[in-house]
Amino acid sequence: MTSIARKLSLDEWDARYEQLTRAGLREPAYGGPLRRHVLLEGDLRLRQLRFDNSAAALRLWNFLLTENQRLHAARAQGEKIIGTMKDLGTVPVMAYVLPGLRAFYPDGAWWTPCLMECSDGLLQQAEQLGIDASFCPVRAMLPAFQNGEHFPRPDALICSTGAVCDDFSAIAQRLEKMGFPIVWWEMPRRRPPDPDEPACALPGELCAPQVQVDCVRTELERVGQVLSGLAGQPLDTGTLARGIRKANEVRRLLAHLRRVVYTSPGAPLPALELLVAEMLAIHFCSDQEETVGVLTDLLAEAEARLQRKQYVVDEAAVRVFWVNPVADLRAMNLLEDWGGRVCGSDYMFTHALDLIPEDLPPLEALARTALADPMVGSTRERACRIVTDCRAGRAEAVVISRIPGASHCAREGALIRETVRADLGIPTIELEVPPICDAMLPTLASRLQALMETVRARR
């Protein structure tokens, strides 16, 4: 089944799928040709995307695009569905270790308008609910709850609040008023410890006052009691430690995959597939075991290509560090089309990529990990990690992708750029990617191409 690494359009994938099938491709239950997601689910955006041609990438895409069906199937089998919101990576670790619970992020609905090219009408419906385009595209979550046409109605909703973005907080509050009760838990804004104040290390080379970790740990304990009640089984220390080890299995795989892809001379896998793979870390796309399989396949493919020096993006491409997830997946393709490649990323959940400490009491470890969220600390701290990761990936430029309407984007870009310029002296650019970026192509092209030219001139 080995073939030259390259990117394919959806049309080309039809033939590629037949080829793989004839060669004996074995797929999981959710497998099948990519085309069916367009025909059956209305994921029209796939027609505009270009995908990696490996069987591993096919598995990744099918895994991603069948999540709602798998959630409905789990519900039908009597499992309880937990909507975890905003914390991006913490509560699912607790939920997945309990039998009969399946956690997912309704926040993920923010990509539905992109995938369905707005044919879902979610953004328009959100507007009718009073949440207009001044809010970030995560507003698509609201009508998705209301119409029940996407994910099943969760048995419980658990949302972190406090130092989170205002868009999400406001939308989640609206959701609760629409009749979806929410268990809120407090995430304080992370601050540096004062002199002489008891402090502790967090993942990601961060530190925080012990008093803040204690508060988060107490909140997580409360969340654990809610989950225990739903599962009918206590979430004891041993059980939680097992959950952390399992989550770390995913995180180790992902760390390995990122290292292989981001530090290699050319890119053995495209930026789009890496973005999707990274997203698996936050809630395992509703299936923890399968996530391990998907990532193992991707890693094997990337390593094999690296050994063969086979790249989907060649070595001459400009090495770009990408900040924030894109509302339109196509943007990742466009970067590569215009001469760039991703060599590092901060998609707002770096705390879900770092290993959860296994040498601490489990709740303490989870609390420290949750508090390492790049979005709950200062932008300067986030920028410092970006600088470190830029060095690791030998980044030649930084792209900060603004999320339309997102409250954190108004100021963070300037601060990150300032730090990157001061510490690395590499060019940076800020651009906004709407859920469907087609109308913006000339603007995006001119800005990204100018960045590529600037970098090449500096070489």
Binding site: D166, A172, Q173, C215, A406
Partner: protein, 353 residues
Amino acid sequence: MEVFYTSPWVPPEWIKAHGLEPRGVWLARDFACEPLPLAAGVCAFANAVVRLAERQAGSAVIFTSHCDQLRRGFDTVAGAAAPRVFLFNLPVTWQTPVAERIFADELRRLGRFLVGLGGHAPAPGDVAELMTEYSQARQCLLDAVAWCPAREYAEAVARFHLDGSVNLPPERGCPQPQRYGQQHGDDILPRAATSVAAAPGDSRAPGPNAIPLALVGGPLPESQMPLLDAIEKGGGRVVLNATEAGERSLWPASLLVQLQDNAFDLLARGYLANCVDVFQRPNTRLYDWLRGRLAARQVRGIVLWHYVGCDLWRAEAQPMREAFGLPVLLLDADETAPNRNTGRLEAFLESLR
């Protein structure tokens, strides 16, 4: 030293007990008078706080963490102005012991910051005494709700936040002038602080047929207070000022009997227990607070005031319509269309006649 604070849920009593001068920003001189920012998505209020922190090199500024814009505004000044800016972590939840603990811890941390600025640790009894003083001032302002004209009331509450004093207009049988707390110096006098009450027969007085409205929403600094005049000019009357530093920020003096040894605990618990704001999760207390007052004052419409980019308030327009069964007019601070708000207000009031 002056210590500016940006949320009414940061206790000025605590600042004062450390020997420093608490100054609520809403009526501070030259605050929020610059042109509104053009950078996409930047909240003009948060931007004004950043400018204040940059400009007032001899003062301290307390930001609060309750909204993204202020949190990140703090990030922009935290480098250069680090020794004199402070980010107060306001808990968003309020039903748990963790929220109480966070608030109390933050008060203690603020105390250490104030001492670092040259203040002193509160002497025994100081906090209780100041709490009593501020509670009486709040109560006096609450008592004036029934008779004080909207603009004068907004200014009086903002002035209380500025310097702890109570300056109500001489009106309708209330012992006047009422003053509590220390008077301000000239250096912090706002530009147009001496608004005179509307006398009977004054053309500015709202007529008996004026439509009772509630003004609900975010901060209303002095530069935006002409909105209150515009409402009256259009035939409305604000009978409930529930903006950030309006009546909503005044909690009743119900804890005084318990004061003495445990003043700090009561201060922390009192503020958290009486905080009524949109950022709280859930924000049911805001709705409960509004519900009784809207009915009692026979409010016929709500003007929901917010800054452009403020998601927290903007998202509440529709829930408020549904919760209270009242028409809601969403108004924002938009200097690019200064007449737009007037036109919309007039149309809103016309539709309520």
